[in-house]
Structure formats: C-alpha cells, structure tokens
Chain length 316, copies 4
C-alpha cells in the first residue's frame, strides 16, 4: 500500500514530475495520477479508445489539445455534442473566443451582442459567419449525395477544414470517426432543418450511425473510455462499448457527484453494475474541472508514451 | 426587501405552508419559493411551458408526478432523453425498480444481473422485456408508415400505453409533444438500428423534429422553460425558445454549478447573455437534488393554481 | 427491498405525507426519509443527541426552528461556532436580517454599510449594537466571577435573553449546554480580547469545556449526532461522542462531498472507520442545502414523535 | 480582453509553462492562473500574508510543501485547526499515513484499527504514540510556565521538532506564528484537558491569542489572505485582516460553492461586502481540490518569485 509522501517543489519542475508526485499526495491528486496510469495502460494494450467531451470544453482552449491528442493516436472514436462541432468550425474559420468573467452583467453583454459560456465570451457575429459557412458546405455535400449519416457528414466537414488545431480536421485526416447522437441540438440543427425545407430529399440518418459506432470497435477488441464531463457523450460511449462486451479501461473526469444519480456524476464503480466496465477493469474517476485536470492527466500519459514510442506523428 | 423570519413548525403543517415560509428562511429555500412563484406566474400568464428532465428522474418515482403535471396542464412541450422514454415504457409494462444504496458492491450486483442508477436498481430482465415490447411496437408503426419523426413515434407509443402514471400516455392523451433529440442514445437506439437493418426503408427523421419543436410555440407566444437537471434536454428547450424570440420565464433546478462552464450548471443569469432568457424575465435557479426540490416547488405552485382554477383535469 | 413508487400530489398534502412518499422516490429523497427515521429512532431509544450547526444557518430563519427543536427536547448538547452565538443575540435584541441576492454588487453593499452572507444581508449597525450589548453583559458576568468556561458563559447569556425564538434562551431554560470550541473566532473574540485587556484577571477556559462536553454524556448512554453542515462543530461532536465510546445514531446533512477528504464532506460511512459511529449504527447522509433538507427531515420526525408523546413542552 | 488560445503540449513541458497557458484555456484554469498572479503580486508588494489550511491537507502530502512555502517566505501568519497540528507532529515523529480508497469497507478498517480520512489511512497506534509524545512535551512546557497562549505553545513545539518538512518546525525557525482558534477540537484537546486535571493551574489562554494575531500585522501594512479550504481557519484570517483595515489581496481555493451561504464556499466577491477584502483588491477564487490546485498555483508563483529574487532561503 502506497504511503503519503511530502511533496516538495524544485525550480523547473515538469508537469510529469508533479503528477508523478501527486500519486503520493492524497484525495483527488491520487486519482489524477491513477487516471494517467490507466491511459498509459489502455494505449499500450492496444485498446480502442473512446474519447468523449462536451461543447464547453471546445469553447475553451482544450480544443487544440483534443486535436493534438487525436493526431498523436490517443483515441479511436470520438463522441461529442452539436455545440462542440459548431465551435470547432468557428475557430477553424477564424472566430475569436474571449476570456470574460463568471459574474458578468449579462443584460449588458446581451445588448452588446455577446454570449457567455461560463467565463468565456462569443459574439453573435460568429454565429452569423458560421451560418454562411455551413450553408455553403451543405450545398456541396448535397451535390454529392442526399442521405448522410452524422459521422460521414462530420468527416466531410473535417476534410474541408484547413486548421491543424481543429478536432474535425485531425479526426478526418487520421480516420477517427466523430459521433454526435444529438446533431440537431444546436444552431446546426436549425440550419439542417432550413436546408431540408428547401431540399426535401436531404436526409440525416442517425439510426445508421448507431451501427457505425458499434462497428467502430468489436467484441474481441480491448475497449476503453475516456469521458470528460457527462451528458449523452459519456452515456453514448459507455452504451456502445457495453454492447460490444464492455470496456476494459475507463477514466471519468467530471465536476458532478454521484449523489444525484445522474449520468454526469456516475462513477466508474457504478459502471461495473451495468457491465459497462468489466469487473476487473482498470478505472479512475477524477472529480474536478476538466480544463485543469485533463491537461495534467494527459500530459503525464503523453510523456511516458512518447518516451516509449507509442505516439503516432510524435513530436520529436 | 424581505426579512429573514424565524421558521416554526406546527403539527400537520402542509407542504404549501412550509414552502411559503421558506421564502423567509434564506439560501436555497428562498430560491425554491421564488421558483414556485415563477411557475405560478408563467401558468397564469398563459405561457407555452417547456418542461425538460433527464433519464434518472424517470428511473425515480418522479415519473408518476411528471405524468400528473402533464395531465394538470402545467407543460406544453417536453424535452427528454432516450433513457427516460425506455424507463417510462418499462414501468408502464410492469417492470419494477428497486431502492438500493449508493455504495453497493457493484461487481456482485452485476453477477446477479442487476443494474444500478445511483441508489436505484433495475434488472437485466426488464431490458429484455422492453426489447420484446419495442420490436412488436415497431412492427405496428412500420406497417403504418416508413418514415417517422421522433415526436410522432413517441406519440404513437403513448397511444398504445394504458397507464395513467405514464408520461408518454398522458402526453399523447393531452396532445403534448415529447421531443428527444438523441433518440438513439439508449437501448432503443440499438433496437431502431436492428429494425432498420431488416427494413432498409424505415427512417427516423430527427431534422424534421427540429421544425416540429420550433412550431410547437411561436414568436408571439409567451414562453417558459422549467429545466430539471442539465444536458441536452435543458439545452434543447433553451435553444428552441431562443429561436422563437426567447423565454419570458425560466426555472432551472440542478446539482451542477456554474463554475465549470457547463450547460448543466448554467444559471438563469447566463441565459440572459444568450438572449435565451429575455432581460426582464422572471427567473429562478435552485441548486439541489430534483427528487426533493421539484416536488416542493411544484406542489406549492399546484396548490395555488388549483385554488384559483388554473389546473386542467383538476383534482377536486 | 423497497420499490420505487410513482409519487402523486393531492391538494393539501402535508409535509409528513410528502416525506413519507420520498422514501420511494429515489436519490436524495430516499436518504432524507431515512434521516427522519433515524431521528425518530434515536429519540425513542432515549439517546443523548448532539446537534451541530454552522453560523450561516443562524443567519437564516432556521434559528427559530433550532430554538423550537431544543424546546421540544430533540437535542441534549449543542455545538456551534462564534458567529452563531453573535447572530442569535443580535436577533434576540431586535436586529433585522434581510433577504438579498447571491449575485450582488458587493462594492455597493459595502459602501452602504451592508454585509452579505450568501443571499442574506446584515447591517454594520447591527454589529455596533451587538458590541454595546456584549460589553454590558461581560461587565455583569465579570462581577460574578473572573474565570468562565465557554458553555457557562453562553448559559449566562441565555438566562439574560428574553426571546422564545432564541437558541441561547431555550438552551439555558431547558438546561441544554452549548459548546463553542472556537469562541474567539468572531466579533465576540475581539470583544473578549478588549475586555481582557481592561481586566487582566478575566479568563475564558476552553480546556475545561472539553471536560464539560465529555461529561455531558457517558460511555453507557446511547449517543447520537445530528450534524448540519461541517467544520469544527461537526468534528467536535463526533470527537466527543467517540471518546465516550461512539455514537449509535448519526444524521449528517451537508452540501460538501467526500471526494476532497474534508470533515465537512465526510459521510457516516467514513465515520465507521474512526469508530466514531459504531459499526451497527443507524445512519443517514443527506446531500443538500440545510435550509430545505432540515425542515423536511425534522418535521417528519416531529410529527411522528408528537403523535406518540415523545416531545417535551409539546404543541398540543 | 484576453483571447482563448488552443493549448498544445510539447515534451518536457514545465508546470510553469502549463499554468501560463492555462490563463488562456477557460473556466477554472483561468482562475488558477490568476491566483498565481495574485500571489506573485502580494509577495512583491511586501504584504503580510495569512495562509490558512485545514487538517486533511496536512494528512496529505501537501504538509511538506506547506513547510517549504513557509521556509521560502511566502507566508507571515498561519491559521489552522487542531488536527493539522497533531498530524504534523505525528509525521515529524515518524508515523506513516497510507493511500487507501474513498470507497472502503469501513467496518473492516475499524476492526483492523485503521482510521480513514477520504482516501488516506492512519493507524490507531499513531494516535497512541502521539499521546505519549504530547504528555512528555506538556510536562516540559509546564515546567517553564503555567499559562500559555496557543501560538506560544505551538512555537515551543516547533522548536522541539527536528524535521525540516514539518510545518511547526519551519514556522518556529522562521518566526512565523501559527494560530489555532479551536485548539481543543482534536485529540490534543483531550490531552490538554487530562493534563489540566492533574495540574489545575495549567492554563491555555485563547483570548490573548486574539490580540497576538491582531498584532501580527498592522492597519498600515498591506495584507493578503491565501485560504485553502474553508471553516474557521479561513474565517479567522479574514476576520483578523478585516479588523486591521482589510486585506488588499486574497486567493480562496475550495470545493465548496457559494450557493449554501457557507464560509467555506464564500467567494472573494462576498468578502468585498464585508469590507474584508478592500474594494479594489486583487482577488481570485479557484474551485477545486486543493491537492491539485494549490501545487499548480503556488509552483507558478514560486518559479517567478525565485527568478526575481523574492524567495527567502531560496533553492539555488
């Protein structure tokens, strides 16, 4: 059984050294270090890794890091929400997100045409530019075929984008499918609807994508879930690995707690009862803000995997 | 400005009296009382009320209360997730949910074929019975037509069900549409997929439902949102009222906090910056477990509305 | 094993009926109902009940309810903090607390001489009036004797107060000791210090009070803890029952979570490892705001105990 | 206004670089970076820094880091609780704390004589060794004088300890006073009580220490508060800086939220209404587990201060 050890700083301390030390500090720092170990293990054991995140994380600067993580081969399937797709495109097409405050004068922001997501700010203008972009894109896609699964549409968008920090770009380039089971839950839903009104034979097939995500891995493959935040992204990844026999590894990272019985707060322990996580899985649940916790966990894993040659397209 | 008043119990105290007193206690009890007032106001002012809830609330005994709230005319549009649909059907067809513990031996539960949702338990068997039921239902629907929007499918299911405590039943009977923007995110998604494999021309049109939810209210109508928990249900209702000019009233109830920038934790203040909630809206954000907070808030509102004759199908 | 049952409202529903129903709803409502049962049991089994609460709860309207709970014989020992003492006195001497907002303009409040505690407001003036009152009281106490334990001082204050809704008054009148292990952590600490500067032989003996709280119960007595919120009040009650062999019953109510390893978030399960709660104890941990949760739990218990004649000074 | 920037990893990334980047990520990472900046500013502007922490943080491996922070001159006054004192002594005298699990079988732990603090474990035996140590120490102190303020007692203990990773040792060696307004709230309270029973003239003067903490800074000095966790430690530091005219700088770090009106969850905004934080203060509130957040924040500050020569006894 590991001992608590006094943590000491020394100048120039690296993130890797800090997280290594955290394994002996206590409380969430211990879970954080364990999460990094589980990610190393799932990668080394060649698992199909499902990475899920929510829209607000793409509003944040984690967006480029997600793209990097995809490029380095740390995930095989992505599940996210409509907002994440929209904001990745906005950023790829030059829209700026600003740092604001949690306690803002929201009426005043609204009057200035500024939207708030926690302490981040986004102009109405960015939504208008997105509208123009997406209609033009839909025209091109429709010219190719009338019926699209969501994942094939997102891949097509990724191929149109020219931004190495884009999630859609890196996913398309590295053949990583992106699933978005609630594609209509965003501005893009409205645009799809208007487009369909004009082109009655235009069709988005969400049912077909259920098959696609099932076939993105197999019963025999080792499977792993890295769920950042909660909601349907997390649920969908767990569901689909379950239908394929269950995941061997799982890392959940969330600010929600299990006490309200929500999916967002469900821990890797609860997942065992669902057969979602196999009984002998290597699992970690980290409670905390993903903008802080995820870089720490993933950097620790990347450093180790990089040294041992497990990263694709690795930074030298 | 209201004063803090010492709360005192007297034997036989009613829920209405307690919540009335809570307005002068402090902290969340004040917000709770305000939430009841906002609900009374939205109903009296004849708003189109969007009620959203998450799947785990339907696992809980709130399910019958939601059905009652629909029957009494306290909501005009429902937004929820796939799990909520499944579990309402399971309960309507006789499946039992049990009260367990948050800290369970999950491996042992799994071996016994029991799934855990927080401190609630559900047998694998119930999922199997649901499978049989839904395939038979899909056969009937398919015989009628090949292409379904989600809301029309859910209405059809509601018409098949014979259980006055069912959400789907009461919604269908009272002409309240149920929207489920991520219908494939559940066991039902798998069943739809298998059905579609057999019947290639069977189609679920989610894009069309975006139009249906938009048309379920209008720009001129007064609109209101009661969002229980977070996730896409909450987001979808806010989005759709926004596209119709914004809601006048909003009650959010959640265990999430705004500090992580998530939709689940977003407050009614943030919504103002999105123009989601109009600047002068009547709003309340209650932090707490919905299984406790919602009955208190809604009962307070129901008592007052009942007395003043604003309830449909009212209990005498 | 209990089943989930659909909750249904009927007009005039009482708090007791609601909480009874909550036992079959799920998540925190189940824990809440259990907490009420544990309180009934601890009282019927004639336990020495330690009630602990934090200062902000006395800022709120729970203050009068605490006084009522003391009067009705539902606690034998109280542990709280300095702020709770001060604010009980302020209220007893006519100071008003107002209901404000969590998101206030705090600079503007400060300029108006108003202090904020969450969504409650208190004027600087009230602190000044308290200062006058406490100096006059200290003069009287000092005339009686030079050396005081905290609990004897608080009892003396209680005997001076004439307000049936006061905690100090009801505690003194009903011979319930109030312990305050950090009496100097408040404005009162400053006043005691100034008084001691003038009267060098004036002495507050906190060590002696440790003996007093130990002797307030016994090894053989059944012991119980109702801890509202966390901090040293909760810790002190657990510590003192532990030194007397451990509590048989415990109800913890808090918004904190166990994931940070704090005392405030510690559950009744953790307490078992400390021998704090005996292994076979009847325990419940309710997560939620005490201003909502405590009235529900305690009213349910009071109704049952009242009917069966277990309340002192009972409301007829 | 700062922009959101895509975060990208590169091999060997230092903690300083990561936190620098966090200022442009969003949500809590932004607050975290701001907290580091506020600490740098308070130190460069020569403030009297009040550092507060709770007992469980000393159970964790942060204990050695706190000692290092004291040695490097990053705090001038410490406020903490009795448990923190006890556990610092236990560690200094060789007791081991182990890493366990949040979900333990607590009855089994109790039977093995093991106590749990979140996911940390401590043997009963360590308490017994502490008892022997403290009685022997009290004998020595009593031989010197009969009446002790808490801070002078803690200083005396620090001078007896020989462990450079000890908080008490570094505080004593660097003339940093430690205040503990609830010294009796722990095993040490029991030991003090038994000692006083034997030596009736032995006296702990908590009132005098209120004067000592007031005089540890001055009205004219710039003052700053770094509050880790909540409870009386946080409250006491805020109170004492307030009585000296208020703090210019404040960093709060906590897992509690403001929505329950507790001191633990009170933000630096609320503090403005109390005049606790002066209106134009530089402040940051970081929501998250201190075992992760504090090392990040403080390392960022230490790196910068070290480079610019602001650290005492600096690591070369």
């Amino acid at each position: 059984m590991a001992q608590v050890k006094d943590f000491l700083w020394k100048p120039g301390l690296s993130v890797e050294e800090l997280v290594e030390n955290m394994g002996n500090i206590g409380f969430q720092s211990v879970e954080l270090k364990k999460a990094a170990d589980v990610i190393v293990k799932m990668k080394k054991n060649n698992s199909d890794i499902f990475l899920t995140f929510t829209s607000n994380m793409v509003s944040s600067g984690l967006r480029g890091f997600f793209a990097q993580v995809i490029r380095l081969g740390l995930c095989n399937v992505i599940v996210t929400t409509a907002g994440a797709i929209e904001e990745d495109i906005m950023k790829a097409t030059g829209e700026k997100f600003l740092i604001g405050k949690f306690d803002s004068d929201d009426v005043e922001l609204h009057e200035r045409g500024v939207n708030r997501i926690g302490n981040l700010l986004l102009k109405n203008e960015s939504y208008m530019n997105f509208e123009t972009w997406i209609y033009s894109a839909l025209d091109k896609f429709y010219a190719k075929k009338k019926k699209w699964s969501v994942s094939s549409l997102l891949r097509e968008i990724g191929l149109m984008i020219d931004d190495k920090d884009s999630i859609l770009y890196q996913a398309a380039k590295n053949n990583i499918p992106i699933f978005c089971p609630a594609i209509t839950d965003g501005a893009i839903g409205f645009h799809l609807y208007l487009f369909q009104q004009k082109h009655k034979d235009f069709e988005i097939d969400v049912v077909n994508d259920f098959g696609n995500i099932l076939l993105s891995t197999s019963f025999d493959a080792k499977k792993a879930v890295i769920a950042l935040g909660g909601g349907i992204s997390k649920h969908h990844a767990i569901l689909c690995t379950l239908l394929n026999g269950g995941a061997e590894y799982a890392v959940y990272m969330t600010t929600a707690h299990k006490t309200s019985g929500s999916m967002s707060g469900a821990t890797t322990s609860e997942a065992k009862s669902w057969g979602k996580i196999k009984d002998d899985s290597d699992v970690a649940t980290v409670i905390g803000d993903v903008t802080v916790m995820f870089p720490l966990v993933m950097i620790k894993a990347l450093e180790e995997l990089n040294r041992e040659g497990f990263l694709k397209n690795a930074t030298s």
